[in-house]
Subunit: 203 residues, 2 copies
DNA sequence: AATCTGAGTTGACATTGTTCATTTACAGTG
DNA sequence: CACTGTAAATGAACAATGTCAACTCAGATT
């Protein structure tokens, strides 16, 4: 069932000044492997290097550690998830309530169709440090903001919008995570789940 | 910060017929280490053996693999979580609505105070196989049942009780998981979160 | 031509999960 | 008591992992 060893790309050294290209190549390789394995902890530094056609240690020219490499992948994935959700919701127009449901579906679909990517999003200590540097918009925060925006447009009291956004998000994440950890759990249908969730949360 | 090597218990071989005792000792050692590290993936078979005062291979007399050992720990933890929730909720009496809130708090407290144990609960593929053997009550299912029971007693339509129980549980798990993965996230206060959650979910 | 430096590699180390062959020590029999 | 079957556990070894320090190698700069 495992790849035998066909996963190495022939690649020469990058010309001067373009060393950063390897960084992108590595991210791509890591992303591919995560997409294939759905078990992030089983994706190895050496496997990524092999896939990228480069020696394992080359990774350490661009990332401090395996963990930081995964963090970088996770940021990319978060951006993608956000894009998918925004495309389904705010950017698609329609009733705010329907936008909310569509965003929920997009979220669960992402988690279902790309479990490896989704899992990497919520490994421990994802937040870079969560300290004072407020300048960087904290990847993933903006898509959350936009969710809260839609909640707001649904007409909930201003004071509750943020907190209800959190509840919504957490209920989505909870379902996605448990669905992947306990495949046998008798979840209600995805449509039903989201309908119920949106209905209840929006008073 | 790491233990130097003071973690080995002197222990002689078990008398005949009582070999099963090591199984318990191993579970205990694993549980302790998980409690200390809060990163399940960094708790090693060899570390557990060292803590139990036994050779690494002895583990394989009682568990098929590291994964199965962890699964066993996870089942114990699930039972404890269930006990904590039931003690706070149904067994404590009072208004069903308050019971629900108390169960929620118990859940979040467990996750907060014992992150290592909580994390091991929701690693991938926890469910033994999720196949036809319906006889075993699927650890963790019973505590979920009791949550649904309380929801039912809150007077929600019979047809919705189960599904709303799921929503509640998922919102709890979502918050617990994200709180641990993204310590910086600006969650609403725990009381506020649960109050909001219970209020909304119970129509 | 000599040097510097960016881009990568080699080889090694300490750990890890796991297997197989082996040893130890207890309990019952002769 | 000595003997033996076997439960309980060990030790050596394997392949794989993350990471580090020292090295190569080619293109740019002087």
């Amino acid at each position: 069932m495992n790849n035998v060893n066909s996963d190495l790309k022939i690649r020469g050294r990058n010309p001067r000044g373009e060393g950063e290209k390897l960084r992108a190549t590595l991210l791509e390789a890591a992303t591919e492997l995560l997409a294939e394995s759905e078990h992030p902890e089983r994706v190895s530094v050496r496997g990524i290097a092999r896939r990228a056609g480069v020696s394992p240690t080359a990774i350490y020219l661009h990332f401090e550690s395996r963990e930081q490499l995964f963090r970088a992948v996770s940021e990319e994935c978060f951006a993608e998830l956000g894009a998918a959700m925004c495309a389904a919701g705010p950017d698609a127009g329609g009733e705010p309530r329907d936008q909310l449901a569509a965003m929920g579906h997009a979220y669960l679909r992402f988690a279902r169709e790309r479990p490896g990517h989704y899992a990497v999003l919520f490994q421990r200590q994802i937040t870079p440090e969560a300290d004072e540097d407020d300048d960087e918009p904290k990847v993933g925060m903006d898509v959350f903001e936009s969710l809260v925006g839609v909640v707001r447009r649904c007409g909930v009291p201003e004071a509750d919008a943020f907190d209800l956004g959190v509840v919504l998000w957490m209920a989505l994440h909870g379902r996605a995570a448990v669905a992947s950890a306990m495949p046998g759990f008798p979840f209600p249908d995805e449509d039903r789940y989201i309908e119920l969730l949106v209905d209840r949360v929006l008073a």
